[in-house]
Subunit: 190 residues, 2 copies
DNA sequence: ACTAACCCTCACGTAAAGGTTAGACATGTC
DNA sequence: GACATGTCTAACCTTTACGTGAGGGTTAGT
C-alpha cells in the first residue's frame, strides 16, 4: 500500500566530456578507447560509488582490468549506465533492474527475451500514463488552493490578512480546499 | 544530485467508514465524536504506527487522552492526516512537512504565514508541472522503443525472432532507442 | 469477573541507493 | 624519483517512513 512519492527533480547534467586522458593508444587498432571508472562517472553524472554498486548488482561489468587491477570499460558501458538511469527515472528500483537483466540474460534464446522486454515497457508505459494523470489532479488541486488563497486577499485587501489565520470569511462556503484546510486543522497543544 | 524516482502507484482507498463504535455519548453536546487512533487509521488508510509517527514529528496531536492514556482525536485530525498524505503525494517528505508546520505555527502572525503557504504551493506547482513534462518525455521514449520493437518483428515475421538478440537488422539505422540498446550493452562476463 | 479487542511505550529492524572513511597500491607527469 | 591524482577493497554510516515485536495496561460487552 505504498503511496506515490514524487521527489524533487534535478537532472544530472552530463558534465560535458572531459579531456581524454591518455589520448589514444595509437597503434592498437580495436581495443582503443577504454575508459576507467572515473571517466564513466564524469560522463554519466553518476558517482564512482554508484558505478561500483551497479557492478555489485551485476548490472554492469568492466571489460577488463589494468595490470594494477583498475577497471576498464568499453564505451558500451556508457550506454548501459545511461540506460540504468533511465529505468530508474521511470520508477524501476535497482533490484527491479536486476531482475530485468537476469531475465534477459537467462533467456539466451531471444524470442522470450524480446517478448519480456516488450512486456516490461508496455507495463511501465501504462504506469507512467497513470502517474501523469495523477499528477494532473494534484496540479489542479494546487491551482485551486492558490486560487482560493487569492480570493482571500481579494476580498480583504492587504491589511486584514493579519487576521486571516482565524478568518472565517471562507468558512461559509464549505469548499475550503483540503490543502488549505489541513494547514489549520489539528492545532498545536494547549 | 538526486534523480527523480517515480514509484509504483497505489492509492490507499479510504476503507469506507466503519461502524461508529460507542455510538454517540448522548447527552454531552459538544465534545462528542472523539476518535481513537484505530479509527483514524481505518478512515485514512494509514497505519496506527504511521499516525504515532506523525505525532512524534509534531504534525499531529491528540485532543485529549482517556483515563487510560488512550489518544483521543477530534475529526479535524482526519483532515490533518489526509492533508499530510496529499503533501506526501506531492513529493514532500515528512521532514519537509515538519518544516512547513513549524513555519506556520511560529508565525502566529498571519500575513507571513499566508504568504509562506502560497509560496510553498506555488513552488510545488511548478515542480509538478516540470515533473509531468519529464514524464511525458519518458512516455514518448517508451512508445518509441515499443514501436522500434514492433518494426523488428514486422520485417522479420515471427520465426527469425529467435536470432534477434544478435540481429543487426536495425544496426544500420543508427537510431536504436537507448532503452533498447541498453538491454544489450555491456554483455555479461566471459 | 472474564474476554476479545484495543491501545500504550519502548526499542530495534528494514530496504533503497548510495555516501564516507581508511589504508594501500597504480598511473602519469615533471 | 617524487607528486598529484585516481583506484582498489572493505566496511560502516545515512536517511525515509514506517514495520515488528515485547511486555503490559484499558475498554466494552456479557
Amino acid at each position: 500500500m505504498s503511496r506515490v512519492r514524487l521527489p524533487l527533480l534535478s537532472v544530472p547534467q552530463p558534465p560535458l566530456a572531459e579531456d581524454r586522458k591518455h589520448a589514444d593508444n595509437l597503434g592498437l587498432a580495436e581495443p582503443a578507447e577504454l575508459l576507467q571508472v572515473g571517466d564513466l562517472a564524469k560522463e554519466t553524472g553518476k558517482t564512482v560509488r554508484a558505478i561500483h554498486l551497479y557492478e555489485e548488482l551485476d548490472l554492469l561489468r568492466p571489460r577488463a582490468r589494468s595490470k594494477g587491477r583498475y577497471r576498464l570499460y568499453g564505451p558500451d558501458a556508457l550506454v548501459r549506465i545511461r540506460w540504468i538511469g533511465k529505468l530508474q527515472d521511470m520508477g524501476f528500483s535497482l533490484t527491479d533492474i536486476q531482475t530485468v537483466v537476469r531475465d534477459w540474460e537467462e533467456s539466451g534464446s531471444a524470442p522470450s527475451a524480446m517478448t519480456k522486454m516488450r512486456e516490461v515497457y508496455t507495463k511501465k508505459l501504462e504506469e507512467t500514463r497513470a502517474l501523469r494523470r495523477r499528477l494532473q489532479r494534484l496540479e489542479h488541486e494546487l491551482q485551486a488552493s492558490l486560487d482560493y488563497l487569492d480570493t482571500c486577499d481579494v476580498c480583504e485587501p492587504d491589511r486584514i490578512l493579519s487576521a486571516c489565520k482565524a478568518c472565517d470569511h471562507h468558512e461559509c462556503d464549505h469548499t475550503v480546499p483540503e490543502l488549505v484546510a489541513g494547514f489549520r486543522a489539528n492545532p498545536s497543544p494547549s
